[in-house]
Symmetry: C2
Amino acid sequence: MTNFNRSRKITIIGGRGRMGQFFTQQLSTAGHQVSTLGNQDWDRASQLLGEAELVIVSVPIERTVAVIERAAKYLLPTTALADITSIKAQPVQAMLANHAGAVMGLHPMFGPSVKSFAGQKVVICSGRNDEIFQWLLDFIADRGGELISCTPEEHDRIMVTIQATRHFSRFCCGAFLSAENTDIDRSLLMSTPSYRQEIEIVNRLFAQNPALCVDIMLATEERCEAIARLAQTYSRLAELILQKDRSALIREFEIAQSFLTQENLASTKQKEYAIAATQL
Amino acid sequence: MTNFNRSRKITIIGGRGRMGQFFTQQLSTAGHQVSTLGNQDWDRASQLLGEAELVIVSVPIERTVAVIERAAKYLLPTTALADITSIKAQPVQAMLANHAGAVMGLHPMFGPSVKSFAGQKVVICSGRNDEIFQWLLDFIADRGGELISCTPEEHDRIMVTIQATRHFSRFCCGAFLSAENTDIDRSLLMSTPSYRQEIEIVNRLFAQNPALCVDIMLATEERCEAIARLAQTYSRLAELILQKDRSALIREFEIAQSFLTQENLASTKQKEYAIAATQL
């Protein structure tokens, strides 16, 4: 092995969780010595953390900052510390405040049941001494992962849209189908391509752990407020539906249409949409 | 040409609309003599309708029943009459009440920008003398279309789920992205696969005509009421989010999860979901 991809000692805190298992599997298959630190293993923390070149924090959102604070005491200044939580401002700040060495926030934009990094996005938020993480970033990129850099603040702002409000929308769709006692098999038999895709997306959400899904929505005040605004959009437009206010609805439709069209015109993905638009 | 696929005289009322153009193109390419009857052509109705073997009504939902009543006067008892509206109970009832010959309700489950029937679903609702339509059904099936039979009432009930509430949800998503002035390009750069799919679905909706989209939601009282219940689901769950009621949210999640899992277990599509679940 060259220095670039020599075997490294890595400890994953929360490595028995599903995403922890994914990272463990990816890194150990490549020849690294990956250890796991779970809830019960803190009596071995000085060994598990004090000898690691890289420590990855992979615990539920609401425990991330506390775990960073607890783990930092055991780290050498030469240890690289990263987290893979769905929010980035708080964890990166906590890592910088509690650890003097290299720090980086990561957010894998996929679920733990993927087979590899191939075709998947990973957002990276620079903390301190990025160059120490270069081998890890190369490792992900070499396996087909796409790395996207941004600040922790931009990450968190965009995740409100990508993750929190969409999670909530999928959650509501599932709750509605359940409350309506919908015959999903029969509906799929008659479905449009879009409906089938949406049902699949909703099913993917409900294949996850309930507490983890709920915590993704509750993670920040910003997320909760955006979810409330989304629900207000539904109430406002549903009121127009009940009033049969056709012209107000058409006006609302045209405003959104104009916004989305401008977005599309600016987008490099324009062609892709044009193709997708052939199927309702 | 055999009798089965000999050239036939067909008139499409509303044939200049996008879906009318699709049917015109499909049928005339196959050698049929397809005429169009638009708003301005009623002075030629006795010729356009009185000589047709098949008349297809392809006009906006809210004009369908009136157009059926107006057209029926010109039809021979040997003319087959079909409509392709997104609701089926009212149009089929109107066709049966106003025309003594063969009647069938059709609902193509796709947008007008598809290239052919290949891989697309068409719901068919039997009216009277189904055998007269056999050549048309064979025509669709031969080109790869999938025919699904049901009663007009079942169709309308299931379309509340497939079409009306999902249309509304996509509409609200677009309105929300617009109101939030979301940087969609930047969000797509960081997106999960699910988010990208959802943005594409929303863009497909907003590529359509605003009035047609609004009328699909307003088409029946049943649709409006279901949309109101969907908005109430959003309000109820958003209230729990604002209260940070984690355990109530987890309970709600588990109820929907249990419903969707039962649905999935019953489904022949189970394997397909298991595969789709590998990507959040």
